[in-house]
Every structure is written in structure tokens, then in C-alpha cells.
């Protein structure tokens, strides 16, 4: 329990106006995109890493759990204050400190919104590729903590591939820096990579050094409709085998297409059973050649129709089809579990078939779409929570999906992380000794288990 004295101390550290115990504020910082709610005891909005360090030292002295939070848009509960305590809302740290055009490196604070950062660098002809669906509102700090992905990661890689260095407040309240603004650096352990995807359990990211690329000159988008799911899946493998890595290779199955048809005036012929949206970027001449080659590769694989966007407006219209899907899923059932398994690219067709079997056995609709180009499939288990028994069935189906992905050499999560949502399934993927190795790191860095306790590993909730 946090007492009045502790609140006073927090106020002294960050200023009275940045601390709140008002019930309305506690409610507003109690949720994320998992739709689970846990009330914190106090919400604190720190303005500097020094303030955060002081808060962490105090939290250790008094054994108060601290939950760092960016935009609160995670799908697995990484920012949820599951054990009361302090929500550390990092929104005030929202400056783009530097965009270094000579070295193609930028330095930012964690509260900068990803999409706004992209706009800022693109104005200078530079490029930050990771593009999670939430990019218009999620923050770079959250993206690093969860190691966010997105459609463009097929070609460019995920968040961690663009992070050169960090400033981090450790769980015990030290301020450290990892990596730096150089393109190479091998002195000591790679703590930058360790922090990426650590879900706020190993430290609080307070500054991020980001690698940038030159902005590609142009891009070309095409939408290809296939008469079978296998055709689409084979197309993915064939393109990669053809030594072309498109910028994006997005896939939608027939259930997804049906949703799109119902929700929008989407015109897709009846015989289309799967869709690929393929985008290439780079120099104008090159992408014309690539697009032509891709078209030649996919045509023999049961293509019903090919639409190629010639203008930015046409490209936007093709992407709109993909974006309309998420919302239209509600037509199937009101509630969804959005899982994000990832399998080796060549296993995508097999994985889709297994998911179809699971859906048939459980009697619960499962809709698949996602980033086929890197084997990352969004498996949406659609239920109506108000109907008794559906949640249990959904959980069984999800476990079956995870097991199937692991059997194919895949993983339970490509982008969303573990948080609390996937924590119960950890033993399916991580062997005892691997889990112990990870937990040893956590224990060493956070001996009092005050920083984001109960995330990733369920048993870290229990104190020693």
C-alpha cells in the first residue's frame, strides 16, 4: 500500500501537478488494448531520467511495484498495473532531440509517437521503416520495449534492427547507456538488444538512438487475388525463392475477404480465396523491373485477378482494403483474441491449414491475415464473450494454435510480446533451462522485483 508520505515524496520528485491519486486518473491509466483493467494506486508523469531514477530508488526502499507506460496500446498487457503501485506515464518525455543527417542517426525520447517521428525524418528525405499498425498513436519507447514489427519488416527488419543505443534507468535506479551512435560496436554484452523486447521488465527506456535509412524514391503496390490459399502461400515462397524481397507481402484468407465484402463495398470476385498485397520500393526503374518479375512468378499459381496501383491514390485504395479488415471482423463476432504467431515462411500454407482444422474442431470462427512475407500471421479467434463457454473454447483453440506454430518451428508471438496474456503459455515455447536463464537475469537486475512484476513470467510475481 502506498501511504500519504510516499505520495508526498513522489510530489517532491516530479512536482505536485504530475502526481495523481484521483480516481478518475487511476481509471484512465488502468487499461490497454487487452481490455483488461487494473487500478494503480498512483499515476506519476516524470519529466526527466533523473526523476525516474529517484522514483525507482524509492520504489526499491519501499517495495512498491512500478509500471512504465507509453501509449497503452499493447495487445498483451505489458503496461498494465497488475499489482497496484505506481503507473509511470512517460508521455512528457516526447522530444525528438536530434536528427543527424550526416550520420543518419536520430536521438529521441521514449514518448515520441512513431508516426510523427517518421513524418519528421521523411521531411528530410530519411526513413524509419518499422510500421506497426498502431504507428499513428503508439510511442517509440513502447515500440522498443515490445520490439514492434509491421508490414515493412519483411524487407527492412523489426524495431530492434534500427536501435543503436539507449539510455536506461535500471530497476534499482541507476542511469546507464547502452550502445551508441556508431554503426558498429562490440564492447561488452549487447545490452541494447537485451532491452529491445524486454517489455519494461529490465529497465525504463529514457532515450533512444535510432538508425535511419535514405527514403526510397518510389514504391509500387499490387493486389493479387488467388483461387486457393495454397496458391497465395506458394506465391510467397516463390517470390522469396526468386531472390526478391518485397517491402511488404500482406496476406488475407477467405474468411477475411468475406468480412471485407460484408463491411465495405469491396469488389472481389467469388472465386478469390486468398489475397496478397505486394509492395516494392526503391529506385523507379528497379521497382518496375521487380514488379514485372513478381507478376511473372505469381501468375501460374492460380491468379484470379491482379490490380496494380499506378498512383499514390490507387495504392492507398488497395491498402484501404487491408485496413478495413480489422474493424469488419466484428461482423463475425463481437470479441476477438488477436494472436500473432510466426512460422518459417515456407510453413505458412501448412500453418493456415492447421488453423482451419482447429477452427472446425472448436466450432469457433478463426480469421487469418497478416505479414505472410515473414511468416507472421495474425490469427483472430472470434467469439461472443456474452455467450457462456465461448471464452474457454477460445482459450483451448489458442493453445492448439500455439502448439501447431511451435511444431512447425515457429513462435507464439512475432510482434505483440508476452505480457500477461501469453505468460501462461511460456512453458510451451521456452524450456526450463532457457526460462531459468532469463529469470536469473531479471533477478540479478531487479532483486526486489519492483519493475513491471508479473510480466512475461508468471512466477516472478512471487517474491523471494
Amino acid at each position: 500500500m502506498i501511504n500519504a508520505d510516499t505520495i508526498k515524496k513522489l510530489e517532491n520528485i516530479v512536482g505536485k501537478e504530475h502526481v495523481s491519486t484521483d480516481k478518475a486518473d487511476l481509471i484512465c491509466y488502468s487499461y490497454d488494448a487487452t481490455q483488461k483493467q487494473f487500478l494503480p494506486e498512483v499515476v506519476v508523469h516524470p519529466g526527466t531520467s533523473e526523476e525516474i531514477a529517484r522514483i525507482m530508488r524509492m520504489a526499491n526502499e519501499q517495495s512498491i511495484p512500478v509500471f512504465p507506460r507509453g501509449a497503452g496500446s499493447g495487445f498483451t498487457g505489458g503496461s498494465l498495473p497488475t499489482a497496484g503501485g505506481i503507473v509511470l506515464a512517460l508521455g512528457r518525455l516526447d522530444r525528438i532531440i536530434e536528427i543527424d543527417e550526416e550520420n543518419l542517426v536520430a536521438t529521441v525520447e521514449p514518448g515520441v509517437v512513431t508516426g510523427q517521428f517518421q513524418k519528421a525524418v521523411e521531411k528530410l528525405g530519411l526513413f524509419y521503416p518499422p510500421d506497426p499498425a498502431s504507428l499513428k498513436f503508439s510511442t517509440l519507447g513502447g515500440n522498443v520495449a515490445e520490439c514492434a514489427g509491421g508490414p515493412r519488416c519483411v524487407k527492412y527488419g523489426v524495431t530492434k534492427d534500427f536501435i543503436l543505443g539507449l539510455e536506461v534507468v535500471t530497476p534499482t535506479g541507476e542511469i546507464i547507456t547502452t550502445g551508441g551512435p556508431t554503426m558498429k560496436g562490440v564492447v561488452g554484452y549487447d545490452l541494447t538488444k537485451l532491452m529491445c523486447g524486454s517489455e519494461g521488465t529490465l529497465g525504463i527506456i529514457t532515450r533512444i538512438i535510432i538508425k535511419l535509412l535514405p527514403l526510397p524514391e518510389a514504391k509500387k503496390t499490387m493486389l493479387v487475388l488467388f483461387d486457393s490459399i495454397d496458391g497465395a502461400a506458394q506465391a510467397v515462397s516463390a517470390i522469396i525463392r526468386g531472390k526478391i524481397i518485397p517491402t511488404t507481402l500482406e496476406f488475407m484468407d477467405s474468411a477475411t475477404i468475406d468480412c471485407g465484402r460484408q463491411a465495405t463495398d469491396l469488389e472481389v470476385p467469388e472465386q478469390a480465396q486468398a489475397v496478397l498485397i505486394i509492395e516494392v520500393d526503391g529506385e523507379r526503374d528497379l521497382i518496375e523491373k521487380q514488379a514485372k518479375k513478381i507478376n511473372e512468378i505469381v501468375q501460374p499459381l492460380g491468379v484470379v485477378e491482379t490490380r496494380i496501383a499506378e498512383t499514390a491514390g490507387e495504392s492507398e485504395a488497395l491498402w484501404q482494403i487491408r485496413r478495413s479488415v480489422s474493424a469488419s471482423l466484428r461482423k463475425v463476432n463481437p470479441d476477438k483474441y488477436n494472436e500473432d504467431i510466426c512460422v518459417p515462411r515456407s510453413k505458412v500454407p501448412e500453418m493456415i491449414r492447421k488453423v482451419e482444422q482447429i477452427a472446425n474442431t472448436s466450432g469457433i470462427p478463426i480469421v487469418n491475415f497478416g505479414h505472410a512475407g515473414d511468416g507472421n500471421i495474425h490469427v483472430n479467434v472470434m467469439i461472443d464473450k456474452q455467450q457462456p463457454g465461448q471464452e474457454e473454447k477460445a482459450e483451448q483453440a489458442i493453445e492448439a494454435v500455439f502448439k501447431a506454430a511451435l511444431d512447425l518451428g515457429g513462435t507464439m508471438s512475432g510482434e505483440h510480446g508476452v505480457g500477461i496474456m501469453k505468460a501462461p503459455y511460456i512453458p510451451l515455447e521456452l524450456s526450463g533451462s532457457v526460462a531459468d536463464y532469463m529469470k536469473t537475469i531479471k533477478k540479478a537486475l531487479d532483486p526486489n522485483n519492483v519493475l513491471n512484476p508479473g510480466k512475461i513470467f508468471i512466477d516472478t510475481q512471487e517474491k523471494d
Partner: protein, 423 residues
């Protein structure tokens, strides 16, 4: 005659459930964009509304402040994957608060909290900025009283002068058109009637040009939108009853507006009140949609372009944009012979007025307005035209505070000149 009835907060339970807290609203809420606090964004307000329904939060302190911090612009709903109508939910929550704690709770509660934060100034002197005359002329139920209640108006705000004679006082109730033409009712709204009668004159000229019969009921009232914003549910219902009677006395084919707020007040709020209000709401049409339907853009485009032209940009009023009306006002503007049209960045973001919002949150409202003024300036336009007297008031205030020279006008003000040429 059935009486008007607004929905209660509990009637929105299903829509509240549909908010999955994804956070997409954080990218689109103008208030959140200015102040960055979760209680200000749609997702937070939906959570607070649920807490109110569940009895988990009391109607005081931050709760009141957060619920007051919404422009009801509808930008969040327009971009929400599940189309959760947060602006309706917030309005219903405000009515719930006002009905339990009295109508003045909102204003008083909010200003008390703000005062303690040093934001709300002592405002009695602002009377000098705004003629007391207005309040003698304004009926009790006019939304302008809610939008610019004297002691609360920040002395920094620049306001338009008051018309010595209101628009409706200057015109007969019925103006005959050409034979065989339909009849339209002109719903003036408070802004045109009391502050900008010249917009009304321009509107009449345009309607006469088309040749329709025009009805301007003397006893039409405020549309009720500012009362929706203030949580004054009963006032909204009374105004709906009054307007139904005024607008139904003569059979009319359309009810035209030149004010985005009135368009939404009549066309959207009334539409949710069941019959016969729904039927009335279905007749409501924005003046530019009406004029475009009658082929005016084509006629204007046929006029020779003037040698000396003025650079004009367009601001989308939220209450038209979120109802899908964005094309027609631009069509007319672009076709004007004396206009060089320029599209500004973020033309569709809110100006920051928001019903009664700017009264209690003038500083935030100014921050939102400052972004708009910057975009107007960057576009290099000499004028910003729009389709809403409320927006004009706010845009001009923001431009004045930025020390810029642009003029905020109604498209109708610019249309008059071209109508003369069309004969």
C-alpha cells in the same frame, strides 16, 4: 404531438462495450493533441462513462474536468475502428451529471477546478470586450448565451460586433420563388441571426438565384447544440419541440442551413429522437450541398476567371466533415471567379471552439486554434473560408492572436459577388 426525448447514458451501454481501448483516438483527438492526458481522449472518457454507470467514480474533481474536456467534434468516432460514438456518450454523461447535480455544476465545477490550477482568470471585466447589448437581444434559450456567457468569457477573446437589427427581424416569413419550385425553410441559427446577418443575406440571395420559395419562421429557436455541449438536456428537448413546430407549420421540402453546428444539431441530434423528429432531420441540408445539387458549381465555373484573384483556403467544420460533407463547399469555392483555391494542411482538424468548450477551456482552445492559424499561414492564403459562424468566430480569434492578417469568412460572403455576375 410527441415530445422530444434524448437518450440516457445507460442507453449507450452496448456502444461503450464496443470500445476495445486500442488507443487509435489518441491520434485524432484535438484536445489530447494539445494537452496529452489520457482522461482527455475518447478511450479515457468511455472508461469514465462506464465507471459512472457502474458507480465506480464520483461526480467530482478530475472526473468533472475530464468530462468537460471534449469538443464533441466527433473526430474520434470518424476514425474509430469500431465507430464508438464518444461525442454522444460524453453528451449523455454531461446530461446525467447536470440532472443529478444541477445544470450549473458543469460550469461551476469545472471553473472551480480550473481556478485552483490558476487557469481561469477573473473574467468580469470581459464585459467590455463584448457588448452587453447582446444579452438584451438574445433569448434565454439561445446557444450564444451558453457559448459566450458574459462573466466567463476570457478577456483575451476577440469577438465580432453585434448586429443592431437581427436577420429575422429584417425579413418576412415567406418569400415567394419561381412558379413550380420547391419550398425550403431557412434555419438561420443564432450566429447568423445575431452576429453575422450578412451571411444570411448572402444565403437568401443564393436561394433566390435558384428560384425556390423560402420560409424563414420567426419563432425558430436555437438548434440546441450548445445546450447539448453544456449537458442541458431539457433545453435541448424544448428547443427541438419549438423548432419542430416552427418548421412544420408550412410544408417544406428541405431545411437548409449555413451553419455546421445547426446542420448537426437538427440533422444528427434530432435524428436520434424518433418520429416525427427523424423526419424533420432527414430534410436538413447544408446550403452548399443544396446549391451543388442545383448545378451552381458548373454555372460558376463557366464565368471567366477574374484577373485579380484572392488566395482562399477552406476549413472543414467538424460537424460537416464527420457527417461526410467535405466536397461541395470546396466545389463552390474552387468555381468562384475571384478565387484561387489552396488546400491547407490538416484542413479537417477542429478549430477548437466546440460548443461551450472554449468558454471553460479557453487556453486549450487557443492552443488548438494556434495550430490551425499556423496551417492557414503556411498555406499562404489571404482568406480562410468556411461554412460555420462558430468556426469563423474561433478562426478569426486564433488568427488575431497569432498576429496574422488573414480574414475568416463564410463561403457565402464570397459567393455574393459571383451571383451578381450570373444575374
Amino acid at each position: 404531438m410527441p415530445k422530444a426525448k434524448l437518450k440516457k447514458l445507460e442507453d449507450y451501454q452496448e456502444q461503450i462495450r464496443q470500445c476495445v481501448k486500442c488507443g487509435a483516438c489518441r491520434a485524432h483527438c484535438p484536445v489530447f493533441g494539445a494537452e496529452k492526458h489520457e482522461g482527455l481522449v475518447a478511450r479515457g472518457k468511455v472508461a469514465l462513462s462506464q465507471a459512472l454507470l457502474d458507480g465506480d467514480v464520483e461526480m467530482k474533481d478530475k472526473f468533472l474536468l475530464d468530462m468537460s474536456q471534449c469538443l464533441l467534434c466527433g473526430s474520434c468516432c470518424a476514425e474509430c475502428p469500431n465507430k464508438v460514438p464518444t461525442e454522444e456518450i460524453v453528451a449523455a454523461a454531461r446530461r446525467e451529471i447536470a440532472s443529478k447535480k444541477g445544470l450549473s455544476t458543469f460550469g461551476k465545477g469545472v471553473s472551480t477546478v480550473l481556478k485552483s490550477q490558476g487557469l481561469m482568470k477573473t473574467l468580469t471585466k470581459s464585459a467590455s470586450a463584448f457588448s452587453a447589448l447582446l444579452f438584451k437581444k438574445l433569448p434565454e434559450s439561445s446557444g450564444l448565451r451558453l457559448r459566450i456567457p458574459l462573466p466567463f468569457v476570457d478577456r483575451e477573446r476577440t469577438l465580432p460586433p453585434i448586429a443592431s437589427k437581427t436577420f429575422r427581424e429584417q425579413h418576412p416569413e415567406f418569400i415567394e420563388g419561381e412558379p413550380g419550385q420547391p419550398t425550403v425553410a431557412f434555419f438561420t441559427g443564432c450566429g447568423i441571426n445575431y452576429l453575422y446577418p450578412e451571411i444570411g443575406e448572402a444565403m437568401l440571395k443564393a436561394l433566390k438565384f435558384i428560384g425556390v420559395n423560402v420560409v424563414i419562421p420567426k419563432d425558430q429557436g436555437c438548434c440546441g447544440l450548445p445546450a447539448v455541449s453544456a449537458g442541458a438536456g431539457e433545453t435541448v428537448e424544448q428547443l427541438a419541440d419549438q423548432n419542430l413546430e416552427a418548421l412544420n407549420r408550412k410544408p417544406v421540402d428541405h431545411i437548409v442551413t449555413a451553419c455546421a453546428s445547426c446542420n448537426a444539431g437538427l440533422g444528427k441530434i434530432y435524428a436520434e429522437m424518433g418520429e416525427p423528429f427523424e423526419q424533420m432531420a432527414a430534410k436538413v441540408e447544408d446550403i452548399f450541398v443544396f446549391l451543388a445539387r442545383h448545378g451552381l458549381p458548373e454555372k460558376l465555373a463557366a464565368l471567366p476567371k477574374k484577373e485579380k484573384r484572392v488566395r482562399v483556403t477552406y476549413h472543414d467544420p467538424c460537424h460537416l466533415r464527420t457527417r461526410g460533407i467535405t466536397k461541395e463547399p470546396r466545389q463552390i469555392l474552387k468555381a468562384l471567379p475571384q478565387v484561387d483555391y489552396i488546400e491547407m494542411a490538416d484542413a479537417g482538424t477542429c478549430c477548437g471552439l466546440g460548443g461551450t468548450y472554449s468558454v471553460y477551456h479557453y487556453e486549450t482552445s487557443q492552443k488548438i486554434g494556434a495550430k490551425k492559424a499556423q496551417n492557414i499561414n503556411d498555406s499562404q492564403a489571404e482568406m480562410v473560408a468556411t461554412d460555420c459562424p462558430g468556426c469563423i468566430m474561433q478562426l478569426q480569434d486564433s488568427i488575431n492572436h497569432a498576429g496574422q492578417k488573414q480574414q475568416a469568412v463564410h463561403i457565402l460572403n464570397l459567393l455574393v459577388e459571383a451571383l451578381d455576375e450570373l444575374g
